[in-house]
Symmetry: C2
DNA sequence: ACCCTAATTAATAGTTATTATCTAATAACA
DNA sequence: TGTTATTAGATAATAACTATTAATTAGGGT
């Protein structure tokens, strides 16, 4: 389902800026920061504002089609949500990658037993050293 | 093993400020921010500086006896490390709690198979609505 | 116990990510 | 096409954190 449909369903306007930001996130699997999204888009939309990027990212988060990643450092990164997946972060170079590894349903079930929350989401981050940095040393 | 021993082993000085900050983290299971640690300690150490809190937290992170949590929002929270455990965050009130739920060794093993990283750490966050907020509605 | 020195604190200024505000532009609908 | 509420863009403001620097202090040597 396209972003335009989702936006209209929420009563939000479909603007080129929003589509462009979402497109960057889809075509770019490197989990960009708000600022790198801004830089990428500035080439085509010289009038794009960083504030717009932030506002749009918030909106897309609310719609549930992207997620914000908090992996340490003081900068958030963003990610389209095809299906829930863990992330690996290289503690040397800071790169962050999707992991093709299913988040077992049983993990949420165990969590539900371990506390009294209505759990609706989870984030799993692994920290380590990537193959490139391993060899670089 | 006490903090003083750890610090001396690292060739760092044992100062009342450092001990105080660590003590707050130990006696307080609410995962404080740097600023709330500062506020708590200010009562006893009126001369304490926020910068000192940040530097000490960084140092304690390096020693490996505390960890920094990135749960969204733009503020880091801190936590002593008794043994690795997941966290639950209430998406209504922002409270964050430790979960008494083992992080199975197999999770890391699966991760090691799924990518080529030397994985040395992981963070697992669950997001949901806490019992109190459930009832409040 | 006292001194010396390097490490650390405290105060403050600076930086950076993010948010708020406000005016101009524009998507959606009649 | 015209109207209107929403959104974009520019910029100022905020908040978390970091760098700097002078003053203080822990810890080893005497």
């Amino acid at each position: 389902m396209g972003l335009d449909v989702v936006l209209r369903e929420m009563g939000c306007k479909v603007t080129p800026q929003r589509l462009a930001i979402y497109e960057v996130l889809q075509n770019c699997n490197m989990h960009p920061t708000a600022e790198s999204i801004y830089n990428i888009i500035s080439a085509d939309y010289p009038t794009m504002s960083l504030a717009t990027v932030y506002k749009t990212l918030d909106l897309l988060k609310e719609t549930g089609i992207i997620q914000e990643l908090n992996i340490g450092g003081n900068t958030s990164r963003y990610d389209v949500i095809p299906k829930p997946h863990p992330h690996v972060i290289c503690t040397k170079c800071g790169k962050i990658e999707n992991m093709d590894m299913p988040l077992s349903k049983s993990l949420i079930n165990k969590a539900k037993k371990a506390c009294d929350y209505d759990i609706h989401n989870l984030q799993l981050y692994f920290y380590g050293v990537c193959p490139y940095c391993k060899n670089a040393k």
